[in-house]
Amino acid sequence: MKTWPMWVAGTIALAAAFHILTVFGLPYGIMDRAMAGIVAEAGGVNKPVYPASATAASRGIVRPSPDLLYTACAYDVSERPVKLTSPVPDTYWSLSTFASNTDNFFVVNDRQVKTDRIEIILAASESTATEEGIPVIVAPSSKGIVLFRSLVPSEDLRAEIDAKRRQSNCKPL
């Protein structure tokens, strides 16, 4: 009996499986690498890093905007919720959170906050005990990335905006 059709079919089936695994696994792998970079720079999870403006030497995240100042934290809410705090500058600003599969599951900008300071709690579930009066965002994955963006519209404002973004923080409750 000829067995080569079985071998060809098996190879195609296995190739399809590797194709699907690669497509599904890539976002997780790339996010893991990004989180590891932030953790290494911050000295642990749930701690912020304040990188300088992106230049041609920046290799942390692809396609960075050189017009923004970023603050990043690798969050881990598996044991405790994480409190996110930041002053809100008088420029475009946003706080965004990304799940381990790259989904942007929450974003708020300066126009939506309406005050000059924001406090938000990131938790694994709504039932998690947190601080009263502070909105809770439920993270779809226990690990991920928090990113604060601050636009630097002109060089005159850079120092002021940089000083404010360095007050952005991620801290376990």
Binding site: I12, H19, R63, Y92
Partner: protein, 224 residues
């Protein structure tokens, strides 16, 4: 007493008996099968993972909406993104915001459909897109900013010099020019891409990104 003539070696082949009948042939078959299985796994891995990478890799985020040479995907950053969009964004636009906050258009070609090349000069010309703030940024084929003496990688709504009618023209090329200029770094064979970010886009832009008037990208010359 019976006399038995010994014929072996006389006019015929001598056959050696196998001390363990069948064992050698089974070992050979097993080895052949193992080699076939390894070959199948290697070929399947190369074809499967390779085709996946080819599919999701590209010059930009790619997408489902095109405006001239600019492309975007409506599902960027969204939990509704399909696995291919997620993988593409992870490679070429990690930590991208969803479109209600920011729309990312990427162009890897000019208006004529030719790939953007570092040795050529382009004019990016248009009017302010409908958003609170916008920027045009140049990235190399590796998706990182391109080194240049000016340390200039982008222009935004607040920094671009405008014409008298409030439109703008940005020159993208290897040699410095008057006015708005984004350096390409100058290697003639390198390709690059441009990303147009629309932060806090107007509601009509969010609902109908295909209807936005975006800057034209016109090739002027390729001196090198």
């Amino acid at each position: 007493m019976v006399y038995v003539p010994i014929r072996a070696g006389v006019g015929g082949q001598v056959r050696r008996s196998n001390p363990e009948p069948g064992r050698g042939s089974i070992r050979g078959k097993s080895l052949k099968l193992a080699l076939k299985l390894v070959a199948v796994v290697v070929v399947a891995l190369l074809v499967g993972a390779g085709s996946a990478l080819l599919f999701v890799r590209g010059s930009g985020l790619g997408g489902t909406v095109s405006v001239g040479p600019w492309q975007t995907s409506l599902a960027i950053g969204s939990s509704e993104a399909d696995p291919y969009t997620r993988a593409r964004v992870a490679i070429a636009g990690l930590l991208a915001l969803n479109r209600s906050e920011t729309i990312y258009f990427t162009a890897a070609q000019d208006d004529a459909g030719d790939a953007l090349r570092s040795g050529c000069i382009y004019k990016v010309a248009g009017t302010d897109p409908p958003a609170r703030w916008w920027s045009v940024t140049l990235y190399g084929a590796d998706h990182y900013l391109v080194a240049n003496d000016e340390n200039r990688y982008s222009y935004g709504g607040a920094t671009v010099a405008r014409e008298t009618d409030e439109s703008f023209v940005i020159t993208v090329g290897p040699q410095e020019t008057e006015g708005n200029w984004i350096p390409t770094g100058g290697q003639a064979d390198d390709t690059f891409s441009l990303t147009l970010r629309l932060y806090n886009p107007d509601p009509e832009a969010v609902s109908n990104p295909a209807g936005i008037a975006l800057p034209h990208i016109v090739k002027e010359a390729c001196p090198s």
